[in-house]
């Protein structure tokens, strides 16, 4: 949206005023940091995460090149970019692999985040890689959730294990695991119902599923449009489930996606994949550098 000014032009206007004055002062850096802060807040990065981030970048900026540089704006952008990329980077998008198959992957997240879609995309990705995934329908609450997974499974030719909506999700997950073993499927992907991180009963259900199938991978599915709450959501899910990774969905939209920073900052978990559409195509790997540019509007 045009309302957002890119960080580049913001910083140009900060440092443009300095032309002729010669030297960049600490005050100038402070002013530049205010612009960086605004850009990050407009991109939905959590305000507490922004605070820490600004402190770190400022230290680096004052400590080194900026003050001496002829192009302070460029130097700051470079530092911000690198710090952001580093923050979101780390371990690359690799799925865990169980020593003894099947590898069990559990999907979790808020209502409507994109879990069921991401489950199918993950299954397709694995199938294209020569694997034999099985999908498990453990959402017994949302109307037609099982049907949705079955239709998607049908579209990509991946079997869906279901026991209807009258059986406890914990039992469905356990039996799905047994079924995967019996049928020689090497990956089991468990689709769960959407739930709020503050819903104690449903969070307990997730813990029991976790206990029941001992997943190798627990992926939190996060809508890229989420705002400031991203930190609380990610933190709660992480505390209760020991997440191993994040899937960021709906990145085909025009959102800046600052949640990527928030979620990574509070969980330390790598963003393993991104969802780029409603159609069932393989999940795509996450690129921290592209995400940094997107968040900064460059």
């Amino acid at each position: 949206m045009a309302a957002f000014e890119s960080l580049t032009s913001r910083l140009q206007s900060v440092f443009g005023k300095l032309r002729g004055k010669g030297k960049v002062t600490e005050d100038d850096v402070n002013e530049a940091m205010r612009e960086v802060r605004l850009a990050l807040l407009e991109a939905d990065v959590n305000f507490k995460v922004v605070k820490d981030f600004i402190a770190r970048v400022k230290e680096r900026a004052i400590g080194q090149e900026v003050v001496k540089s002829f192009t302070p704006g460029m130097v700051i952008i470079d530092i911000v970019n690198k710090e952001l990329t580093e923050l979101m980077g780390g371990t690359q998008a690799k799925l865990a692999k169980a020593a003894k198959p099947p590898t069990v992957i559990m999907m979790a997240g808020l209502q409507g985040a994109g879990k069921t879609t991401a489950s199918a995309k993950l299954a397709l990705m694995l199938q294209k890689g020569g694997h034999k995934p099985l999908l498990a329908a453990c959402d017994i609450y949302r109307p037609a959730a099982i049907k949705q997974l079955q239709v998607l499974g049908g579209q990509i030719g991946v079997p869906v294990f279901s026991l209807g909506d009258k059986v406890n999700p914990v039992d469905i997950a356990r039996q799905a695991l047994q079924h995967a073993k019996d049928e020689g499927r090497d990956y089991l992907i468990i689709d769960t119902a959407g739930r709020l991180h503050i819903d104690e009963a449903l969070m307990e259900e997730l813990r029991q599923i976790h206990e029941g199938v001992k997943p190798d991978e627990v992926l939190l599915v996060v809508d890229a449009m989420i705002g400031q709450e991203a930190v609380n959501v990610a933190q709660s899910f992480h505390e209760q489930l020991e997440l191993t990774g994040i899937v960021l969905t709906k990145l085909d939209g025009d959102t800046r996606g600052g949640a990527a920073i928030s979620v990574k900052a509070v969980t330390g978990c790598p963003i393993k994949f991104v969802g780029m559409g409603e159609k069932i195509e393989p999940l795509e790997p996450f690129h921290p550098d592209r995400m940094a540019s997107r968040i900064l509007g460059m």
């Binding site: 407009e42 985040a113 037609a144 400031q228 709450e229």
Partner: protein, 291 residues
């Protein structure tokens, strides 16, 4: 707010509360500038005098246009179209609203305009069974505008009081899908003069700044008249509706508070604003009892 004195730290804390509620940094800075002005003019010194002023300001802003409730047809069928991005709660809200109209004794029909998403028609039909309302549908993959055409004809024939039209979720930057929505909108307008009586943009309260772009672009293509703010049972505050209200003049009409058929309420501006500051008030209570 904990602080007693109005100083820079006070404004900073206030800013953080509002930004933390997703009000958005531009709107927050405008609001705090206005407050500073107020403080100067009225010579306010105590922070406790300022908080109610801000709350009143916000309530007045949000209340405008929201008070009247849903606009109903003077005679014949009221048509309500639901639009919004993926997964926000359109279908669920339709189910809840159908239930509400039914319990008011109205006859209701639902149109399965999401012919794209896997299981979408079944989901609406399941809601139909739950609340005892019929669904007009075609096959998955059918033209959604054709579904609306059928639904309006059926609504006229049967003389139903309310027709609730579901649409597929779509991101506002997808030109083709937005044109498809525009076509749906125009078919409804063409087939029944005066319709749609409301076009409700469904927004997920956990959404950040992108909601503003949603409101703008859906407004352009489908003439949005109001907002349904869903998932307010979460810890998210949905503060972006403040920015939407002040920039686009769109009122919030309904709020979603859960996944069950009764979890739908009228928007209450006072309660909403109270909840915006609720976290801060809790902190104050904690600090009070600890000290």
């Amino acid at each position: 707010l904990r602080r007693k004195k109005i100083d820079e730290a006070f404004y900073e804390e206030l800013e953080e509360i509002l930004i933390g509620a997703d009000v958005g940094v531009t709107t927050v800075m405008r609001l705090t500038d206005e407050l500073r002005e107020e403080v100067r003019k009225r010579k306010i010194e105590d922070a406790s005098d300022l908080q109610p002023i801000l709350s009143e300001k916000l309530v007045a802003l949000l209340r405008e246009g929201a008070d009247e409730g849903l606009r109903m047809a003077e005679s014949g069928t009221t048509v309500i179209l639901f639009v919004g991005v993926n997964g926000v709660g359109k279908t669920t809200t339709i189910g809840k609203l159908a239930h509400r109209f039914k319990s008011e004794g109205k006859s209701v029909l639902m149109a399965a305009g999401d012919t794209f998403r896997a299981g979408a028609i079944d989901q609406l039909e399941e809601w139909g069974r739950r609340v005892g309302v019929e669904v007009v549908k075609q096959q998955p993959g059918a033209d959604p505008a054709a579904v609306m055409y059928d639904a309006i004809r059926a609504a006229k024939q049967r003389g139903v009081d309310v027709l609730l039209c579901d649409t597929a979720g779509r991101l506002q930057n997808k030109t083709n899908l937005m044109e498809e929505l525009n076509k749906i909108y125009r078919v409804i307008q063409r087939e029944m003069p005066g319709a749609p009586h409301e076009v409700l943009l469904v927004l997920d309260a956990t959404t950040g700044q992108n909601a503003l772009s949603q409101a703008k672009l859906f407004g352009e293509k489908s003439g949005v008249t109001g907002i349904v703010l869903t998932k307010l049972d979460s810890t998210a505050k949905g503060g972006i509706v403040v920015a939407i209200r002040s920039e686009l003049k769109l009122p919030v009409k309904l709020v979603g508070l859960g996944e069950k058929m009764d979890d739908l309420q009228e928007f209450d501006a006072e309660q909403f604003v109270h909840a915006l500051f609720a976290g801060a008030i809790d902190k104050e209570a904690e600090a009070g009892s600890a000290g």
